[in-house]
């Protein structure tokens, strides 16, 4: 589904080699944790999947199509196939939980009836149905991240990309989020999770890819968190 072929990323501005000759493949329906210290290149790798960044060298294939072939106009369409979740949630404060999710559909030109039908469903999946009219600051951190996941899921994407989703959460909420991601994965969505959180990685008992200084250090199909 996603294939990295000799991918390197150099940020010329500060002469930083974020990634060096990465080769890896992720199959549909997989749950992959990407671990590594800060600056190991986890976020760079994720950003290239949703076409926010381009590799300096090498090629990334999504459903066998090279991403370098994507024209600027086609990028939004590609992104609808990928749900993205961040450490800082990136919710809109002035909008309610419902509006934060419906906004994603509106921006992509979905009709009103579909929005009224789909948004409550997705909020129910993440367990926020009764918080529909609450604003983000009325929700707990864990609930905010669930709302961000709901927004990421609304386009029924093939892949969920999560960049440190539990970075701002207490252990209990982190576990909740992991459970939710595992549930989503079970329903058939590929999940790519970049994290520092040892507990999450160990509990997931799924494939672990570790990066060190931009290089692929290990790729364990049923790994544990092994960053020192």
């Amino acid at each position: 589904m996603i294939k990295f072929e000799n991918v390197s990323k150099i940020y010329e501005k500060d002469d930083c080699h974020a990634l060096e000759k990465i080769n890896l493949e992720i199959q549909p329906g997989e749950f992959v944790s990407i671990v590594g210290r800060s600056g190991a290149g986890k976020s760079s790798l994720l950003r290239m999947i949703y076409a926010e960044d381009k590799p300096t060298e090498g090629e990334i294939y999504f459903d066998e199509a090279p991403l370098s072939d994507l024209r600027k106009k086609e990028i939004p369409k590609h992104r609808r196939n990928i749900g993205v979740i961040f450490q800082e949630f990136k919710l809109l404060k002035r909008k309610t939980a419902f509006e934060n999710v419906s906004f994603a559909l509106e921006a992509c030109g979905e009709p009103e009836e579909e929005i009224q039908e789909d948004v409550p469903k997705i909020l129910e999946i993440v367990g926020l149905k009764d918080k529909m009219n609450d604003y983000p600051n009325e929700l707990s951190a864990g609930q905010q991240q669930k709302l961000a996941i709901a927004r990421a899921l609304i386009h029924k994407p093939a892949v969920i990309v999560a960049d440190e989703p539990t970075g701002n959460l207490d252990p209990e909420s982190s576990e909740d989020i992991l459970k939710l991601l595992l549930k989503i994965n079970k329903l058939g969505t590929t999940v790519i999770l970049a994290t520092h959180d040892k507990m999450i990685v160990d509990k997931a008992e799924k494939r672990v890819i570790c990066l060190e200084k931009g290089k692929l250090k290990c790729d364990d199909p049923k790994g544990k968190y092994n960053v020192k």
Partner: protein, 302 residues
């Protein structure tokens, strides 16, 4: 498509109402620049209209000595019409001149009474000469003064009108210059202010734009609200400026100047209302949308 336009338009109106002072400043500057440009347009055109009118009525009147016969005057007429600058020559006989004089002064009983007392026709026959180009009047006068016909001529009448034309020409040129300068300065300020407003809106909505990109909103959808914002500024300003212009012409002109007829200017305003609306709305939209597009290009990284 309709859904996109509807949603982005709503987004633009929200953004406009969110920061009312910024909106007001932007709006006022565009109104001012449009207002100046249209005032200049109306002023130059109405003065040009007045001038054309004056120029049409301009002529050199050549009066002949009383002993000159009609045949001699006709001979002089033939002679003058050979000059290339002459547009037309009308012969006005003593009788016609008297008729005209009576018609013109019919309401003035004093003049009519003294005319009767004189008993005979006191007026002279004359040739009324019009030229193609106003500037040529002095040359024509010289030509007549130096012609072999000069013996028969008693008087040539033209000087006053020439000065009037020169001063009007000067006024028109000055108004045009001031107007173009002020209009350009205000347009530039309008573009800078609108550009800045849109830039601030882009900053204020940075997070929203980021989320829109992440969820796969098309670039068109992300940009459209800002274009609409510029468009709305332009449109609202055009309408306001149109109303201001109307009020100025209707109420201010009679206070400031008695020499310009309000009816004439209003007639011009109403006659050209579609052109004026077109210019204002067109310019307003160009100012608003162009500023938006510059700001989007510079600050909206998609």
């Amino acid at each position: 498509m309709f859904l996109t336009i509807n949603r982005t338009f709503k987004e633009a109106t929200k953004s406009i109402s969110r920061n009312i002072w910024l909106t007001l400043a932007t709006f006022l500057v565009i109104v001012l620049s449009l207002y100046f440009i249209s005032i200049v347009y109306v002023a130059t055109f109405s003065i040009k209209g007045v001038m054309n009118n004056i120029q049409d009525n301009l002529n050199v009147s050549v009066y002949f000595n009383s002993e000159t016969t009609e045949a001699e005057i006709m001979e002089a007429k033939d002679f003058f019409s050979k000059n290339g600058d002459v547009k037309s020559i009308d012969y006005v006989s003593k009788e016609d001149a008297l008729e005209d004089f009576k018609k013109y002064n019919a309401s003035d009983s004093d003049i009519m009474q003294s005319l009767e007392e004189i008993g005979e026709n006191p007026l002279w026959s004359y040739l009324s000469i019009k030229v193609h180009n106003v500037e040529k009047y002095s040359e024509i006068v010289q030509y007549i003064e130096n012609s072999p016909q000069k013996e028969k001529i008693s008087r040539i009448n033209y000087t006053k009108t020439k000065e009037a034309i020169n001063s009007l020409n000067g006024i028109v040129k000055m108004i045009e210059r001031i107007g173009i300068t002020l209009g350009s300065i205000f347009s530039l300020i309008a573009v800078i202010i609108t550009f800045n407003t849109i830039r601030l809106t882009i900053y204020a909505r940075k997070k929203e734009i980021e989320v829109m990109r992440l969820v796969g909103a098309s670039n068109f959808y992300i940009r459209l609200p800002f274009v609409f914002e510029g468009l709305l500024y332009g449109l609202a300003s055009a309408i306001t400026s149109m109303i201001l212009l109307f009020l100025t012409l209707r109420f201010l002109i009679p206070l400031v100047s008695k020499s310009i007829s309000v009816e004439n200017v209003m007639a011009f305003y109403l006659h050209n209302i579609w052109i004026l609306i077109g210019i204002q709305v067109g310019l307003g939209i160009i100012l608003g949308v162009c500023s938006s597009l510059i700001a989007i290009r510079k600050y909206l990284k998609i």
